[in-house]
């Protein structure tokens, strides 16, 4: 055991220290797995198991490498040698593998009829969960969605949680009920706001096997989101009244007094002062009508002046109307642009579906 671990560490250290070696060899962990498989084929099951276990302890090991190590461990625990068999350990290891891969097949160099039977048993008695998805999905706009396909060997309840790795804020929670297989489709926008921001997320999918003794399977995957934030334009709420022109001239007011005096005085003069020649001016008396009319004219003029609201300025009214329409249009334009930014917003989700 200690030998195997030292061997594994040494191999990894040497490989990582010499870049040329790294390039020449496929992968040091693969080498370990090959050594482990070779040990198994040499009927050295303990050594094979020990090396495989050491691979599981390496954080650099990929899920596929871990799966391979677990297969070696299962095979080492249940070889075609009744003396070396430890059925419970092998079955437990196979169940762990089947949990996340219901269609698991053991490599020819590791298995034999008895182990295949044990694998079948593991498949029968294990609640498995398998997740697939398009590796990269692009969702656009309000109705843009992404889909994860869930497959199990039994009917179950499947719960999806997607949470940001930083901050642990939950982005998506969804579920699939009473089916052995189906799609969980989730939107990438909520309330016209992107659910995802650019960054890393963790997908946690948990399957619950129905029944009191039902099993629970939880798998975790990585998700990378590329979703630029939507920056809406500010919608103008109030028109700048300082840019509006006066639509009426100033009130005439007291300026009407002079014209009133003049028109009234003129009427008075026409009735009293402007007279015909000869005896007309002396024998025909001046009429009071001119005075009366003059008074009416003067008072009317003054009243009109003080009641005056100012003369409408059509050009300014038109300019203000145009400014108002331009303001309304600017609102419409901003809303349309904001709408466009929402409807055309793009979220790119990159799934890493190798179980962690």
């Amino acid at each position: 055991m200690r030998f195997a671990r030292r061997l594994a560490m040494s191999l990894v250290a040497v490989t990582l220290a010499v870049p040329g070696v790294t390039r020449a060899q496929a992968n040091p962990i693969d080498d370990l797995l090959r050594v482990s498989t070779d040990a198994f084929n040499d009927l050295n099951y303990k050594k094979a198991d020990s090396i495989a276990r050491s691979v599981l302890q390496l954080s650099a090991a990929t899920p596929a490498q871990r799966g391979r190590a677990q297969m070696v461990m299962a095979a080492s625990a249940y070889p075609d040698d009744p003396v070396a068999q430890n059925r419970a350990v092998a079955l437990n290891m196979l169940k762990q593998l089947v949990k996340v891969n219901s269609s698991l097949k053991l490599p020819q160099e590791l298995t034999w009829a008895g182990l295949d039977s044990l694998l079948d048993e593991a498949k029968r008695t294990t609640f498995s969960l398998q997740v697939t998805a398009e590796p990269q999905q692009t969702a656009i706009g309000l109705d843009g969605t992404a889909t994860i396909h869930v497959k199990s060997n039994k009917t179950g309840l499947f719960r999806l949680v997607i949470a940001a790795k930083s901050g642990k804020s939950v982005a998506v929670v969804d579920s699939l009920v009473s089916v052995p297989e189906g799609d969980i489709t989730f939107k990438v926008m909520r309330d016209e706001t992107p659910i995802f921001t650019s960054g890393d997320y963790a997908i946690t999918l948990t399957g619950f096997e129905p029944g009191g003794l039902g099993d629970t399977v939880t798998v975790q995957y990585a998700l990378k989101a590329d979703a630029p934030a939507i920056t809406p334009l500010t919608v103008p709420v109030k028109m700048d009244s300082t840019k509006l022109l006066t639509i009426r001239s100033g009130k005439f007011g007291a300026r009407s007094i002079l014209p009133a005096i003049l028109v009234g005085g003129a009427a008075f003069a026409l009735g009293s002062v402007v007279r015909g020649e000869g005896d007309i001016a002396t024998k025909v008396p001046a009429t009071a009508k001119g005075t009366g009319v003059g008074a009416v004219l003067a008072l009317s003029t003054i009243a009109a002046g003080f009641m005056d609201k100012g003369r409408p300025i059509p050009a300014n009214i038109a300019a203000n109307k145009a400014a108002g329409e331009a303001f309304q249009k600017s609102i419409v334009d901003v809303l349309a642009e904001n709408r466009r930014r929402i409807t055309e917003h793009k979220t790119v989700l990159t799934f890493d579906l190798e179980a962690k």
């Binding site: 022109l245 005439f252 009407s256 028109v263 024998k283 009416v296 009641m307 400014a323």
Partner: protein, 244 residues
Amino acid sequence: MRRLVLCTAFLAAATQVAAQASPAPAPTAPSTPAGAAKAGGASKAEFRVGGFMVSGERSYDFANKVNTATGQIRGLEVLLRGSGAGLYFRSLSGTFGTKASTTNGLQPQIISADARILFFPPVFTLFGGLGKRCLCSDLANKVYDVLMGGVSSTVNIGGSGLRTHISGAFLVAKGKSFSTASTIKKPSTGLEGEAAIFYRLPRVPLFLTLGYRTEVFTGNTATTTSPEEVRGVRIGGGIQFGGH
């Protein structure tokens, strides 16, 4: 002559003061969108067709005897003007007195028509024109070919729709005075003055007018001098486009 000087001075003063009161103020907005007007809003062109009636009296001095009768003058007028010039036409027909009355005896009918050319803006307008003036009766028709010149001032009272109008004209007639020709010793002269307000109704191109009108005329022949005076309250209305 004194009357002429008095009227001319009055009108000159009136137009001077009116000119100060008339211009519409510019808008006070701090900034101006493109195309916005800087000033006013008053229409520069004006077209007006109206009818009017002068209810008053006519006095004339014949053979050192002054006769006065009440009556009416009905008239039509057409005005067409731009900012600096215009045309004005008017016809009048007036009847004073009644045939059977001893206190309000029938006088010759007054019929006149004239055309004028207007210069300068409404607030101060000089005009000149030609016309005919006839005193028509069963016995004879006195027809005068009249030359006239004068000044007028029309002031808009803001946007109220009301306008004040003052005008005065000097009339002079040459040529034959009687239908039977005779030698003229000196020209016939006269004065005509009006003071009125015009109110244009909102939203419809109609106007109403109220004012006072006086016309004095002295017909001269080789042998006779016939002063007359017509004055009365002027009311009317019509159609008007522009002018405000």
